[in-house]
């Protein structure tokens, strides 16, 4: 079975890889490119632990094939911080203790970052529905929602400056 050649952009960097037709984007990220920050919790698009951003849209990378990345712009958890500067969502997750085991955290952070790319004024309800595709079994979501709303406030303040 011959492999497919894919040219894409991952976290702002041009990337080429070979993958098999049946490999998911998540398989490619984790097993071919060593980007293991995206997690596999269900491989059926139910848990959101593998969330990435594809051309600005949040996507479960377990439901996307590796070959579909051709010509796209992909953002993964590894690209959310700018060098050693954490994204406000990441910083607020730490400050609010919004992670316990930390396994769902990359997916939540990517999804929340995408929310805040869309709006800096999400209501609690909007944040809850936006993140309803990400499962967390540890926290009961309370501190996650607080962290996201607090990150939005920080980003609003930064944007106003």
């Amino acid at each position: 079975m011959s492999k497919h050649h894919v040219t894409t952009t991952i976290n702002g960097e041009p990337m080429e890889y070979l993958c098999e037709a049946q490999q998911t984007m998540l398989d490619v990220l984790r097993d071919e490119l060593g980007l293991t920050g995206s997690k596999e919790g269900c491989s059926s698009g139910d848990c959101g632990a593998c969330t990435i951003i594809v051309d600005g849209n949040i996507t479960c990378s377990c439901l996307m094939l590796g070959v579909e990345a051709e010509g796209r712009k992909i953002e993964t958890i590894e690209g959310i911080a700018q060098g050693d500067r954490l994204h406000p969502v990441q910083q607020k997750f730490l400050e609010h203790a919004a992670l316990q085991c930390g396994f769902c955290t990359p997916g939540f952070i990517v999804a929340a970052k995408a929310l805040l790319d869309t709006t800096l004024n999400p209501t609690e309800e909007e944040a809850r529905y936006w993140l309803a595709g990400n499962l967390c079994r540890c926290t009961g979501y309370d501190k996650i929602i607080r962290a996201v709303l607090d990150a939005a406030a920080v980003m609003r303040a930064e944007a106003g400056r």
Binding site: Q22, E40, L86, F93, Q100, C101, K143
Partner: protein
């Protein structure tokens, strides 16, 4: 004693956890994130039958597939005699665990492992599974717990005779054990009662639902040395089980804990590691195995479903004079449900004169249950706390008042034996009563429920090391996987003792070769027991630091005090010396006797009991039967919160799991005994849009047996929610839901029964 640290600088604050950054940038290594050079991928072939004799397994075709390197079956594992294991949380038998990891002779549930294969890629391993030919003789199966107890039920084990009944049975049974606890005279108690109510409740099995599936990478060298990198609640547990199941010495295994993506009790035993080791041994290469979600649901966990029969007798004034409880718990395919703790926890919150408790541990064709957060307690408490609410309504007494009237206090003798000390239950009731939540007005179809819960909390064996580095920083090595921020707590306690800032202490969870034995992360024990080991190790270091300072000053060690991270002369008589900081002493360590470190191994006793009282407001949609949680307040005695944000997190997480258990989660089997909903789409755990903010109230009744007063906090929060929700629904719409989950179709049907819908013609 708590009093020796009466001015706290670090304990009680909310610093960022030491492993936090790695976890928000995606760098933390969980079970499936590790690779080894030359590794193979392992996969498990699982039984499609609920109950079947395995007549033959033929792997010839699979082994001929290019890339396939090894296949293992039960024949590749030593035959292990029946022996109780005290390795994990809850009862387990080494022989049963071996058979649970790999079916021997019979497959006992849908999803039971029958063979495993290792190949050069995951895809080839998957393909090879279909080529392994298993010939089954399908046998009659039994899923329901009471059906399994019937005389004519299909038997899972020919050699299982009910324990705890006299005379010893002569016929095998699915009832593995009958247990009982009695106090006072139950018949006299009911005779004395002015009101008696008797109710029956049921719960369904629910899965721990950790988001990280089980995963491991292992390597067995030709000399038999094994390395295991895996996600578990205890690397020492993994080591002990694997040594036994593989028939090797414990010293031949080094178990390295990965970060763990949730466990809640479900990772207190092994599934993949023994199979991966056997494959690695046979293939001569490292092997990686990762479950998919379907395998997690079909092959691991869950906790028991059960039947809870409660009978309460009370005086009109609300004093309960007789309490009877009968519990029937599903154990899954092998004995060992948490019916014991279920029996003990059901009435533990109450001071009752006459009690009779009977429990049955029952096997059926379901996956062997695993520990799940306060194992057993949520099930019995759902029945008892619902029944108390029904009694309160019958007596026209406020449900909180009824609990106050009968609450256990220091000195209360429990039905299961021990006399309580350090009980914070009444304080949780008091805090709940005075909480503004209780005053909030309710609208139509809205209701409020309260319920309480108890969990023992445990201590146990823990080891830790405190190593002072050359620059005055400290490294803490302990051995309990950090499942919810415990590393932060360890560093905080060490920093408090050493008198140095929190960020000068780095805590590490060591592998089995880096730290003395640690019992696993479970029983709400880590902050208490391992925290105690860490504290004692730091205290030993302080003694040594004082000795070194005394040496430098040439005075007696007794004349040195440790204050704010510095050695100071104890008084004017001791001499006049400038304080020596920890860093000063560390720098000179080489000249004053060498490295400064201490290791401590303890068996921690005196874990304080956990009590909680929850308040839940719901709104019922009468059209659909959907229940919305409007507001939730959880009050808990936490002893003393070391890192309050992570204590709150434990409470909130337990509540959310309890709400899922109450409203949605259940295992659904078809008539062939196959699991119908092995995925997160059909097994619905709560999502963010299902939940309100979860308010927590931490009552602090310090535990005198812990240096900072800590009690275990992780488990008791899952005990009250099911009854709290059921009681709130009853308050909202007058419908008493006695069978979990209280899902929309069921509640809708109950509402229809209560108020039969009018026909269109009417």
């Amino acid at each position: 004693m708590a009093s020796s640290y009466d001015t706290l600088k670090v304990v009680g604050t909310r610093p960022i956890r030491p492993d936090g950054v790695d976890k928000v940038i995606g760098r933390a290594a969980f079970g499936a994130d590790m690779v080894m050079p030359g590794m193979l991928w392992g996969k498990v072939k699982r039984s499609p039958h609920a109950h079947a004799r395995i007549k033959s397994i033929n792997a010839d075709k699979a082994l001929k597939l290019p890339g396939v390197k090894a296949v293992v079956t039960a024949a590749d594992f030593p035959s292990i005699p029946s022996e109780e294991a005290f390795v994990g949380e809850g009862p387990m038998n080494f022989r049963d665990l071996s058979r649970n990891c790999m079916a021997q002779d019979k497959a006992l549930y849908d999803g039971h492992a029958v063979a495993a294969v290792a190949a050069t890629s995951s895809a080839i391993a998957e393909e090879a599974l279909d080529l392994i030919e298993v010939e089954y003789e399908v046998l009659p199966h039994v899923i329901d717990v009471e059906a399994a107890m019937a005389d004519d039920a299909p038997l899972l084990h020919d050699d299982l005779f009910t324990q705890g009944v006299e005379p010893k049975p002569t016929r095998p049974s699915n009832i593995a054990k009958k247990i009982g606890f009695n106090k006072g005279d139950i018949a006299a108690g009911f005779k004395e009662a002015e009101v008696v109510i008797e109710r029956r409740y049921t719960t369904q099995p629910v899965h721990q639902g950790y988001i990280e599936p089980h995963a491991c990478v292992v390597s067995v060298a030709t000399d038999g040395q094994c390395t295991i990198f895996s996600s578990s609640q205890g690397q020492f547990m993994v080591r002990a089980y694997c040594a036994k199941l593989l028939g090797t010495d414990i010293a031949n295994i080094r178990a390295i804990p990965s970060e763990i993506g949730g466990g809640f009790g479900g990772k207190t035993l092994v599934y993949l590691e023994p199979l991966a080791l056997a494959l690695s041994k046979k293939a001569g290469r490292p092997v990686k195995m990762v479950m998919n979600r379907e395998e997690v649901f079909r092959g691991t966990g869950p906790t028991s479903g059960g039947v809870i029969e409660v009978k309460l007798g009370a005086k009109r004034d609300g004093h309960i004079v007789a309490a009877q409880l009968v519990l029937k718990y599903q154990a899954g395919a092998f004995p060992g449900s948490p019916v014991g703790p279920g029996c003990m926890c059901g009435f533990a919150m109450y001071d009752l004169p006459n009690v009779s408790i009977t429990g049955y541990d029952v096997v059926s064709n379901r996956p062997k249950v695993a520990a799940y957060r306060a194992p057993g307690a949520p099930i019995s408490s759902f029945g008892v706390e619902s029944c108390l609410d029904e009694l309160a309504r019958e007596l026209r007494i406020d449900p909180l008042k009824l609990r106050e009237l009968n609450a256990a206090k220091d000195g209360t003798k429990t039905a299961h034996g021990p006399t309580f000390v350090n009980v914070g239950y009444v304080q949780t009731l008091e805090a709940a009563k005075n909480h503004p939540h209780m005053q909030q007005k309710l609208g139509p179809n809205q209701g409020r429920g309260i319920a309480s819960g108890f969990w023992f909390n445990i201590g146990g064996e823990s080891s830790a090391g405190c190593f002072i580095n050359e620059d005055g920083t400290a490294t803490i090595v302990e051995g309990c996987p950090d499942i919810g921020g415990s590393r932060a707590g360890m560093a905080m306690m060490a920093a408090e003792v050493l008198g140095i800032p929190y960020d000068r202490v780095r805590p590490v969870v060591g592998d089995t070769a880096s730290v003395g034995f640690n019992f696993l992360t479970g029983g709400s024990r880590v902050t208490f027991a391992t925290g105690m080991a860490v504290t004692q190790a730091a205290e030993k270091v302080v003694v040594e630091l004082k000795r070194r300072a005394a040496m430098i000053w040439d005075i007696s060690p007794d004349a040195v005090e440790w204050k704010d991270g510095m050695a100071v002369p104890a008084g004017a008589n001791a001499g006049n010396f400038d304080p020596l900081s920890l860093a000063d002493i560390a720098l000179k360590a080489g000249r004053t006797g060498g490295p400064i470190s201490a290791e401590v191994s303890i068996n921690a006793q005196g874990a304080g009991p956990g009590f909680a009282t929850h308040i839940c407001d719901v709104e019922v949609d009468p059209e659909t039967g959907r229940v919305k949680i409007l507001r939730y307040t959880a009050v808990q005695d936490v002893g003393r919160a070391i890192h309050p944000a992570y204590v709150e997190g434990q409470i909130q997480g337990g509540v959310a799991q309890g709400i899922g258990w109450a409203l949605n989660e259940e295992y659904i089997y078809d008539r062939n005994g196959r699991l119908d909903n092995p995925g997160f789409l059909d097994y619905r755990i709560p999502v963010a849009s299902d939940m309100p903010m979860l308010e927590t109230v931490m009552v602090e009744v310090p535990n005198p047996r812990h240096p900072f007063g800590a009690k275990g906090v992780g488990e008791v929060p899952i005990v009250p929610p099911m009854a709290a929700v059921a009681n709130a629904i009853a308050d909202a719409v007058g419908t008493r839901m006695r069978d979990l989950p209280m899902s929309p179709p069921k509640l809708r049907a109950a509402l229809d029964e209560q108020n039969p819908p009018r026909m269109a013609a009417e």
